[in-house]
Amino acid sequence: MKQFQYVITDELGLHARPAGQLVKVAAGFAGCYIKVGTEAKMVDAKRIMGVMQLGAKKGTALTITCEGADEEAAAEKLEAFLKENL
């Protein structure tokens, strides 16, 4: 399993638009079980409603875990996505 943390720096936080993009990136790894969230709550990164309901704001530390096929590549791609967009 790969795991990493990312602190949101974007002013608006994990809004609908970046949430949608995040889900799309995660959905690209069909064989990999990907979760995103905080200590309080982890959700399936491929489910938009759950990701949006995290209500992650600027300063929120997100934990991402990837488990399964391509977990390395998935973690790498997600980390790159977060850095660039959030």
């Binding site: 608006l12 609908a16 399936d44 409603m49 309901q53």
Partner: protein
């Protein structure tokens, strides 16, 4: 024949078929008894919803912008959300019909969003509901894809900007809404489109009215459904007279707006977005006296970039081909805002953080806008005016800020023009202080809607106060007189851009007061020019 009344937002008479537009509230069908059949119905409806959203997505991207389109994209993703699908499937297995399952799941998810501790996410409840409503409508055999086969009168609860984008505007003869105010989106659109319209009617949105013959009388503020022959004849005559009058006004197209006594006045138009330029040209306005900036900010999820603002302003400046445009900076408040502004709820938004107050507090919002306006000024004559001014220091601070922005752009080697700086006179404070304020700025533009409401302490949108409201109240007229007088003492020009400016019974008075400009709905320009040309004022 049924008769009803409403608040008229534009005069004229429309006669045509009534089209009821409603956000579907159909009675939900119950399950046919076979869960697998219901599940299949759901899958089919979901695919149809996806196709509709895809079409809407493309239309929105093209007509409004990518940013707005992304909202639709997120809605499409919700259709594939496993939490959502599993919940629906479970309910269908438990005996619910497809429509019931979607409705209930949608409501549950929407409630979860609405309960979130984040105003932006709270507002996403609407998106979840929207998706579910779309599927339910399909399952109920409803006609979501609203269409008008022939020109007619659109009757609705209220219309949002995203709904009017989808409307066949060339077929709409009039708007009749149950809600809305004379400043609502629909009202502004009606005035710009030149069509008679009523808001705040008690009309019943039932199917009985749909397809029936209807008359809207925008002079009297009433409507008739299935009019009797006599009423129809009277209204046809009235419509004919209006058309004839408009024909007569054509004689004033291209003429100068000068009184017999030789007084020249500028007749400008109020617009809400760059697409309204066609109406400015059609209406023969001599410039734009009020370009609202709100459209650039509302109905989206994030602030517009300097580039987006610049492109929109530049489009107007270029489209006017040398005629002046007066741009009003963002006039937004707690009652009319986009979620991403994150403004706190206010008990009394009319007296709250709004207009220039927000811009002075939020340089991050103001800076890109002012940069965009200065950049656009390189393409033609531009004036800018600031709303909700009440004090001298606000004006000084804004001027300082503008000077800084201008120097900054010049230092960057960016082309800028000469931008006239003016203020709106909307608060009694500004009107009373107009002698001092006039020394600071290049022009005044009186926003009579707010000035009247603040002077009389009467909420214009409250129909219970109609008996107390007097648009021609001597206190307001006295303030208007002082403002024009003080402007001229200081050698600057003064205009009126509120609704009162279009009141033809006051044109003579405004000329006497010395106003240099009236900015009105584009469709009213010729009528006022006739008034001006017939006046003796020197």
């Amino acid at each position: 024949m049924k008769k009803g009344t409403g608040r008229p937002v534009f005069s004229g008479v429309a006669i045509g078929r009534a089209y009821i537009y409603k956000k579907q509230q159909a009675a939900l069908p119950t399950s046919c008894g076979d869960a697998s059949v219901e599940q299949r119905h759901f899958e089919e409806a979901k695919e149809e919803a996806r196709a509709q959203l895809q079409a809407l997505f493309e239309k929105t991207c093209k007509e409004i912008g990518e940013e707005q389109g992304m909202i639709i994209d997120v809605q499409m993703m919700m259709l594939d959300d496993l939490d959502y699908l599993e919940s629906i499937e479970a309910m269908i297995k438990n005996g619910a019909s497809a429509a019931e399952a979607v409705k209930e799941t949608g409501d549950t998810f929407a409630a979860a969003f609405a309960a979130m501790d984040d105003d932006y996410m709270k507002a996403r409840a609407v998106d979840v509901k929207d998706v579910s409503t779309r599927i339910v409508t399909i399952l109920c055999g409803g006609k979501t894809g609203f269409s008008m086969e022939e020109p007619g009168i659109l009757v609705a609860e209220d219309l949002t900007p995203s709904e009017t984008v989808q409307m066949p505007k060339d077929k709409i003869l009039a708007f009749v809404t149950r809600q809305g105010s004379s400043n609502s989106h629909t009202a502004i659109l009606a005035r710009i489109m030149n069509i008679p319209s009523l808001v705040q009617t008690q009309i019943n949105l039932d199917d009985e009215i749909d397809g029936k013959q209807m008359i809207v009388d925008g002079f009297e503020g009433c409507y008739y459904i299935e009019p009797d022959e006599q009423t129809l004849a009277v209204m046809k005559e009235k419509r004919h007279a209006t058309e004839e009058y408009r024909q007569q006004l054509e004689a004033y197209r291209g003429k100068e707006s000068v009184t017999r006594g030789g007084r020249k006045i500028n007749l400008f138009a109020n617009i809400g977005n760059p697409d309204d330029l066609v109406h400015v040209i059609e209406g023969d306005a001599e410039g734009v006296g009020l370009m609202r900036s709100e459209f650039l900010y509302l109905g989206r999820t994030d602030f517009p970039t300097e580039e987006e603002l610049f492109e929109a302003y530049k489009k107007v400046v270029e489209g006017l081909g040398g005629r002046r445009v007066v741009i009003r900076t963002l006039d937004i408040g707690a009652d009319k805002q986009a979620d991403y502004f994150g403004l706190e709820h206010e008990e009394n938004p009319a007296l709250g953080l709004r207009g220039i107050r927000i811009c002075l507090e939020r340089e991050d919002v103001f800076r890109p806008q002012m940069r965009a306006i200065y950049r656009a000024s390189a393409y033609g004559p531009v004036s800018v005016m600031f709303p909700m001014i009440a004090s001298l220091w606000e004006v000084r601070k804004v001027k300082e800020f503008c000077a800084k922005i201008r120097e900054e752009l010049i230092a960057e080697g960016v082309a800028v023009g000469e931008v006239e700086l003016g203020i709106m006179i909307e608060t009694p404070a500004a009107a009373i202080m107009s002698a001092q304020l006039a020394k600071e700025v290049d022009f005044f533009s009186v926003g009579t809607n707010d000035l009247t409401q603040y002077t009389l302490a009467i909420d214009r949108q409250n129909p219970n106060l109609d008996a107390f409201y007097d648009a021609h109240h001597p206190a307001v007229l006295e303030l208007l007189r002082q403002v024009a007088h003080n402007a001229h003492e200081a050698g600057i020009w003064a205009g009126i851009c509120g609704e009162l400016g279009a009141d033809a019974s006051l044109t003579e008075t405004f000329l006497e007061m010395g106003y240099d400009e009236l900015s009105v709905s584009p469709g009213r320009v010729l009528e006022l020019r006739k008034k001006v040309c017939e006046s003796e004022v020197q």
